[in-house]
């Protein structure tokens, strides 16, 4: 009951705020929670906030913002995948089922989405494999108008606090792949203009592999 009340209050507040700024909550479609039965051991060696099942507050973006990455081409640092197909990362299937999981090899790896046009991006959502509550290491999200990411790179998120990826010291926290809510990780893109989205990771608390289920980029055409 309290949960619904809180959600109601949050939605009401978001509506008022949105009306004032011509914003509206992003119409995100979340996959169902994944974790059933006895939860596994929760990793503790992390900067992530404790796992919880509270719903994420609505994220406001200008009216009309949509998932502009749906069905767009995906490339990766690692073409020799362990499982899955890169196109699954933007296919809209977000359930934590094994057939939806794309697995890249160990080490620092990235996947990149070509939005096939410049967009004003407001949010990036990432679902690694969230079957169990694990924490991916060195998660870095960058956007650029350069497919090589040599120029015009904006880092939206970086929790590589030891700069092991060599992309600069990250000051963001790690986070749990939230199998209790299936909410994915939402990164505020702050209206950054870009055509390409690149997501890095370097294994997880579970193993050294890098997995993805879905990546979404929410925005509006820059023009």
């Amino acid at each position: 009951m309290n949960k619904f009340l809180s959600l109601g209050v949050l939605a009401l507040a978001a509506t008022f705020q949105a009306a004032a700024q011509d914003l509206q909550p992003l119409p995100l479609v979340l996959p169902p929670p994944a974790m059933k039965g006895t939860p596994p051991m929760i990793p503790t060696d992390t900067t992530a906030l404790p796992l919880n099942d509270k719903p994420r507050p609505p994220f406001l973006a200008p009216k009309g913002a949509s998932n502009v990455s749906l069905g767009k081409p995906v490339s990766a640092s690692d073409t020799n995948l362990i499982s899955g197909d890169l196109q699954q990362i933007t296919d809209g299937h977000k359930q934590a089922d094994q057939e939806n999981v794309v697995t890249l090899r160990k080490g620092l790896r990235w996947v990149q989405i070509d939005l096939q046009g410049e967009y004003k991006l407001y949010a990036i959502l990432i679902w690694h494999d969230f079957t169990t509550p694990i924490v991916f290491r060195d998660v870095i999200v960058q956007v650029s108008d350069d497919p090589e990411f040599k120029t015009g790179v904006t880092t939206l998120f970086n929790n590589d606090q030891k700069n092991s990826a060599g992309l600069g010291l990250g000051s963001d926290r790690e986070y749990f792949e939230n199998s209790l809510t299936g909410a994915g990780k939402l990164i505020d893109a702050k209206g950054t203009r870009a055509r390409y989205v690149r997501c890095y990771s370097k294994g997880s608390t579970a193993d050294a592999l890098n997995t993805y289920i879905e990546v979404e980029a929410w925005g509006l055409p820059a023009s």
Binding site: T44, Q161, K162, G170, S171
Partner: protein
């Protein structure tokens, strides 16, 4: 007292030392140990130790630590280690074995040796002999005072009156719960008298031989010792009044106004059958069974007033501690010492009851195996590792571990120390520790930092380079505008108590430069 007896007792003391001395730094400092170490700091560095009637117990612990500090080879408090402090209870815990020399003439040599063997290897006795708190000192001074009292009553020598006075004075100056031991002794004297009149109506009674002058000597010595310590050697007159005032707050805690209120079987579960999920079984039931035999022998066997007194004293002290709601596991030491003495009686009685040599040998062997398994448990409890690699001395799977500082916090301290090394300000780098709960033993571990502040809420002021904040406060300092700080990790201080480490990004960047490259 023959050489054989003395040599065996010395051997037992040696075994006791062998289990107590190694690896005194293995277990992270408990909150109370850290507090006690910092109380000693007030004495050592500023020479202004003052007895606090609300907390921290009596003055003997810091003063008894002085010899260890003197012997440490340094005058710098920051150079002291856990060993500097924990060696103090080691000495008193081992000394408890040697105190049997006082009792042996009336208690019996065989009884003394079995009791000494159990004290040497008992998991509880060993574990808390390596614990820088007051309890082992209290047990030692209680034994010194009461054993000497017995000898004085029986020998009428002024030396024993003097020693008894010293023991009683030190008891009073060690921990407020000394009153339980005194009450138990008074009840025991009364109970023994009543029991003996009922059991042996015609038997000759123990006669009081103490002279009035000796009584005055005993009382004056006890009082003088207590006054010396409570007044911090005449530098704190208030200490005398505080020594009485202290019973206000402690009585409230004893009544249950405390987070340490536990049901009555608390001590017995820890002593005689303790099994937490995934851990081994711990049990000192061997001592419990022998103590029960000793108790019955003392009450129903041939009249031996000392044994009867110990039996009733143990009974009353156990009852008092069981009834009092405030329970921490080390408080069991007082009555458990009585049980061990009774176990010595039990062991000796069993052997004497075995008239045939073969039977006696078998019984002796069984008893030796029982003592050995206690020693094995003591070794495991202090030096063994759980299946997940956590030392049992810091694991809740050990019955004597209570609200123990997690080894995880040493990771945090390692990072904080490394940050000081890369900071241009070194140990003058400003550190804030913020927690609404007790943050001990962090003051001990962070003692080298010269500019450190402790808060119970996040202060309304600019962030400082290093901030250790209770996770309960949901500080989110890394989310503040400007993102001047990052959150470098959660660290467990105690069970269910987590701290977050926030570091300025500039300082963190310097620290990261010192790290070895991560493998791909």
């Amino acid at each position: 007292m023959n050489r054989w007896f003395l040599a065996t007792l010395a051997l037992l003391a040696g075994i006791g030392l062998a289990l107590r001395v190694p690896g005194l730094r293995l277990r992270p400092m408990h909150n109370d140990e850290g507090v006690n170490a910092m109380k000693f700091r007030a004495l050592w560095v500023n020479n202004n130790y003052k007895y606090d009637p609300n907390e921290f117990h009596g003055p003997t612990l810091p003063y008894m630590t002085l010899p260890s500090a003197w012997a440490s080879g340094t005058h710098d408090f920051n150079q002291f280690t856990e060993t500097t402090f924990r060696i103090v209870p080691v000495v008193f815990g081992t000394g408890l074995i040697l105190l049997l020399l006082i009792l042996a003439p009336d208690f019996g040599k065989m009884e003394s040796l079995w009791a000494g063997a159990i004290i040497a290897v008992s998991p509880a006795m060993v574990f808390y002999s390596r614990y820088y708190i007051h309890e082992m000192l209290l047990v030692f001074f209680t034994a010194l005072g009461f054993f000497s009292l017995w000898r004085w009553v029986n020998t009428n020598r002024w030396g024993w009156a003097l020693t008894a006075g010293i023991g009683l004075g030190l008891m009073a100056a060690t921990k407020e719960t000394f009153v339980f031991a005194v009450a138990a002794l008074v009840f025991a004297i009364g109970s023994s008298a009543v029991w003996s009149r009922w059991r042996e109506p015609g038997a000759s009674r123990l006669k009081w031989q103490g002279r009035a002058t000796h009584t005055v000597l005993l009382a004056a010595t006890a009082l003088a010792i207590a006054v010396l310590f409570f007044t911090s050697f005449f530098t704190n007159k208030q200490g005398l009044l505080d020594a009485v005032r202290t019973y206000g707050p402690w009585l409230r805690r004893a009544g249950g106004e405390t987070v340490h209120a536990h049901p009555w079987p608390f001590y017995f579960q820890r002593l005689f059958w303790f099994h937490s999920a995934g851990g081994p079984v711990w049990s000192e039931a061997f001592v419990g069974v022998l103590a029960a035999v000793g108790f019955l022998v003392a009450l129903f066997g041939t009249l031996r007033p000392l044994l009867r007194l110990i039996a009733f004293y143990t009974f009353w002290l156990t009852l008092i501690y069981t009834v009092v709601a405030y329970k921490t596991p080390w408080c069991l030491l007082g009555f458990y010492h009585g049980m061990i003495l009774l176990a010595g009686v039990g062991a000796a009685s069993v052997l004497r009851a075995c008239k045939k040599v073969g039977l006696r040998t078998a019984a002796g062997l069984a008893l030796a195996i029982g003592v050995a398994q206690l020693g094995w448990q003591a070794w495991r409890g202090n030096f063994g590792l759980t299946q997940s690699g956590v030392p049992y001395c810091a694991s809740p799977k050990n019955p004597y571990v209570y609200s123990q500082t997690s080894p995880d916090i040493l990771r945090l301290l390692g990072i904080v120390d490394a940050l000081a090394h890369v900071s241009p300000d070194g140990y003058n780098t400003i550190v804030e520790v913020i927690s609404p709960q007790s943050y001990g033993p962090l003051p001990w571990y962070l003692r080298r930092f010269n500019k450190i502040g402790y808060w119970d809420q996040i202060p309304d002021q600019p962030l400082v380079p290093i901030m250790i904040v209770s996770a309960d406060l949901h500080a989110a300092l890394d989310e503040r505008p400007g993102k001047t700080h990052l959150m470098a990790g959660y660290f467990q201080l105690r069970p269910n108590v987590f701290m977050e480490l926030y570091v300025s990004t500039a300082l963190w960047a310097e620290y990261v430069k010192t790290l070895p490259p991560e493998p791909d």
